[in-house]
């Protein structure tokens, strides 16, 4: 665990308490069963906003607390542990695009509303089912944006879209020229196919060509933070189960084959944690975040993938039942693994950035 400031420790503990007391996995199960397109409980999101979590990376001048990305990562991790669904990550990433690339008018118009939780914002980049920011065809002509974006996270509830077009990032408000089609994935969260047809678009003019990459790094690292929470929880749950389940007259935890499996997973998750925290800290430091972000996401993908499989396997038959929570973690983990770059994507990027 990174060395935390007092403020960060308080924030993390608050998130932990809230998630375990007010938003345990049973709360997610209710949302899952309700099967709504938006995939979260608006009342819970309002509470998160009241606690200030929607403004963690937003400067005080715009209504946030300016606690930074490591702090936000701690909150996202805690929420990931109990599958507490919300558009916090998507909104924060969209806000970061405005912070890095917006002018004062744009910042004034949107950041306070995002910070207060009143407005859900999200990033719309990929046009196919695999993350590939090199293929963008959405176009802006005369201030009107046209194009299609696939699987936009929180697209079903967002009021503001940060859209990647051929010549930069644009702000598009929900409404005129914007249509939303739900895509129902295994994780039961919001993923929408967005069609923009002459939608009024307002360009984020600063930041230049690197703006999109900087924003995507933030998206990747936050996804990794959620995966860290989920993997950690999957590990803890498995460990507790092995210590309690009896077969052959012994608790499973006494079997050396399982002890070593768990010891390896423990090591893996520690590496994952270091990589994720380093990614978050790199963003807080500013400057080049690319390598740290790719490391965080690749490691999170690998370890999250393995841990979610071991979660099921080591529980045996009960892990296969919907009544048990393990499946939620497996399903969400695969979606996060695909979002903002799978392992191959980030390995390739890491190699390129490292000059080999």
């Amino acid at each position: 665990m990174a060395v935390l400031t007092e403020e960060q420790t308080m924030l993390r503990d608050m998130a932990r308490d809230w998630a375990s007391n007010e938003s345990p996995v049973t709360a997610w199960r209710k949302i899952r069963d309700a099967n709504t397109a938006t995939g979260y409980d608006p009342a819970a999101y309002a509470t998160m906003a009241e606690m200030g979590w929607t403004g963690v990376i937003i400067p005080e001048a715009h209504g946030g607390s300016d606690f930074g990305w490591l702090s936000l990562g701690l909150v996202i991790e805690e929420l990931g542990k109990t599958m507490a669904a919300s558009p916090i990550a998507a909104s924060a990433v969209a806000a970061s695009a405005i912070l890095l690339g917006g002018n004062d008018a744009q910042k004034d118009a949107y950041l306070p509303r995002i910070a207060s939780g009143e407005l859900v914002a999200t990033l719309a980049v990929d046009e196919g089912p695999r993350h590939d920011p090199s293929v963008i065809t959405a176009k802006v002509e005369d201030g009107k944006l046209s194009g299609t974006k696939a699987f936009v996270a929180e697209g079903d509830s967002a009021g503001l879209f940060v859209v990647a077009a051929t010549d930069g990032l644009y702000l598009v408000a929900a409404g005129e020229g914007v249509s939303v089609d739900r895509r129902h994935l295994v994780d039961f969260r919001s993923h929408a196919q967005m069609t923009f047809d002459g939608a009024p678009a307002d360009k984020l003019a600063s930041g230049g060509a690197d703006l999109l990459e900087a924003v995507l790094d933030r998206a990747a690292v936050l996804a990794a933070a959620e995966m860290l929470g989920m993997a950690g929880q999957a590990f803890d749950t498995t460990l507790a189960y092995l210590k309690q389940r009896v077969q052959f007259g012994q608790v499973l935890a006494t079997f050396q084959a399982l002890q070593h499996r768990m010891a390896n997973l423990f090591s893996d998750i520690e590496l994952m944690r270091s990589a994720v925290e380093a990614g978050l800290s790199a963003i807080d430091r500013g400057g080049d975040t690319r390598q740290a972000a790719s490391l965080a996401k690749a490691k999170a993908n690998e370890v999250g993938h393995l841990m979610s499989r071991e979660l099921i396997q080591l529980h045996g038959g009960i892990g296969m039942t919907d009544e048990y929570d393990a499946g939620f973690y497996l399903k969400r983990m695969r979606v996060l693994e695909q979002l903002w770059g799978n392992t191959a994507f980030h390995r390739e990027r890491f190699a390129r950035l490292s000059g080999f």
């Binding site: 196919g128 089912p129 695999r130 993350h131 696939a150 699987f151 089609d181 739900r182 895509r183 129902h184 994935l185 295994v186 994780d187 039961f188 993923h191 196919q193 009896v246 077969q247 052959f248 007259g249 079997f255 050396q256 084959a257 399982l258 993938h305 499989r309 099921i312 396997q313 045996g316 038959g317 892990g319 296969m320 039942t321 919907d322 009544e323 393990a326 499946g327 497996l330 399903k331 695969r334 979606v335 693994e337 695909q338 979002l339 799978n342 191959a344 390995r347 390739e348």
Partner: protein, 404 residues
């Protein structure tokens, strides 16, 4: 129905047999069913059978070719292995598939043929061969999973019948099954020696099934409760207390079927590489565009080929020594692992398109792929989990000792 004469395996007669099969398939396999085999049907349960599907099942059932190597006197095909292979080849050529399967075919039938008495064989085998009766497996209990011999469901001797009380769990297809082959306790003083193998009618009074939903969204397995269920003594297979031996033999059949010879690992349709080219694209030389993915597909295909070669070697060795090859014990662990790797690769190839649950924007194949990916996580758990198989390999084959 003409029963086949003593199976002949000479090359000439095999070719004659091939011609016979070809002709019969042409006459009996409805062309509209070509390639329509649903590998998930065993999991999803009986669906509304289209008339041509029912006709196909009936034709195969009467011919005995759904269970080609079972004795003809009990309704099997009576074919030699070589003939069965010809039948399989010709079916594949015609796009035909075997409509008769399930636990009765895979595990119970072969076990009953070995351990059942004449009356039991006459009663049960033909119905399985015709695909008319569905069986479920009453083995696991809440506290008897990997440690199966710890089962507590008790059968009390009441003279001409047993009175069965207890609970089974993860009973696949319990809600659709007509009958259950179960292992139950008849003696509380010994562990394995106190187990007896019983055949239980699922519509007997006192049998209650509660379907359990799985992570794949399907509910193919159940909790099964027995409350004062009367089971006639003639439904006991083997002697009282012999159930563990019989039950274990059945598990051998289960493992063999789950490990490559069986349909669980039949991979049909386009290759992973072709699918990848479709979803990820190809470079100007026609290769999968993503080199990392391409390397991993190559690794999978090589592993898969090595696995199939091993399965073939096991078969050849077993035939040569007239017993089971030691190597067969790795087939289930390796085969199931590879099956899962393939499903994971499929998901990755398709990106988020490969994670659809339902609704607009996904093809039926994509959705089915997702369900199969999730269901496939069970293959390393049931039929002897990978960990338990590895324990067996370490102790029985490698001679490694128990932790003291």
């Amino acid at each position: 129905m003409a029963t086949l004469a003593e199976p002949e395996t000479g090359a000439d007669s095999l070719e004659a047999f091939r011609a016979e099969v070809r002709e019969w398939l042409a006459a009996n396999f409805p062309a509209s069913l070509k390639g329509k085999d649903n590998s998930m049907s065993a999991v999803e349960g009986p669906t509304q059978e289209a008339p041509e599907q029912a006709a196909w099942r009936k034709a195969m059932g009467e011919k005995g070719w759904g269970v080609p190597t079972w004795p003809a006197e009990y309704g099997g095909g009576g074919l030699s292995r070589a003939q069965a292979k010809v039948l399989q080849e010709e079916m594949a050529r015609a796009g035909a598939w075997n409509p008769i399967g399930g636990m009765g075919v895979m595990m119970f039938g072969p076990t009953l043929l070995e351990y059942g008495n004449e009356a039991q064989k006459r009663e049960h085998i033909p119905a399985i061969a015709k695909g008319e009766v569905r069986w479920c497996q009453g083995y696991s209990e809440p506290n008897a999973g990997s440690d199966l011999a710890n089962l507590q469901t008790f059968a009390e001797d009441k003279g001409d019948h047993y009175l069965v009380n207890g609970q089974k769990t993860w009973t696949s297809g319990g809600q659709w099954a007509h009958k259950c082959f179960a292992i139950v306790r008849t003696d509380k003083t010994q562990k394995q020696g106190g187990i007896t193998f019983l055949l239980i009618d699922m519509d007997s009074p006192g049998v209650e099934v509660k379907p359990i939903q799985m992570i794949s969204g399907m509910s193919p397995f159940c909790e099964t409760f027995f409350t004062n269920v009367k089971v006639p003594k003639e439904n006991r297979v083997g002697e009282e207390g012999q159930g563990w031996t019989i039950g274990k033999r059945l598990l051998q059949h289960e493992r063999t079927n789950l490990s490559g010879g069986g349909s669980a690992f039949r991979v049909s349709g386009p290759s992973l590489a072709d699918i990848a080219k479709k979803y990820v694209g190809a470079d100007d030389q026609g290769r999968v565009a993503d080199p990392d993915l391409r390397a991993r597909i190559a690794k999978f295909e090589m592993d898969w080929r090595a696995f199939l070669l091993t399965a073939m070697r096991v078969q050849a060795e077993s035939k040569a020594v007239g017993g089971v090859s030691e190597v067969s014990s790795i087939l289930k662990t390796v085969g199931t692992k590879l099956g899962q790797e393939r499903a994971e690769l499929m998901i990755e190839i398709q990106g988020l398109q490969g994670l659809g649950w339902e609704g607009e924007g996904f093809t039926p194949q994509e959705i089915q792929g997702v369900r199969a990916w999730l269901f496939g996580k069970a293959t390393t758990i049931y039929g002897g989990s990978t960990e338990i198989q590895n324990n067996v390999i370490a102790k029985r084959i490698l001679g490694m000792l128990d932790h003291q």
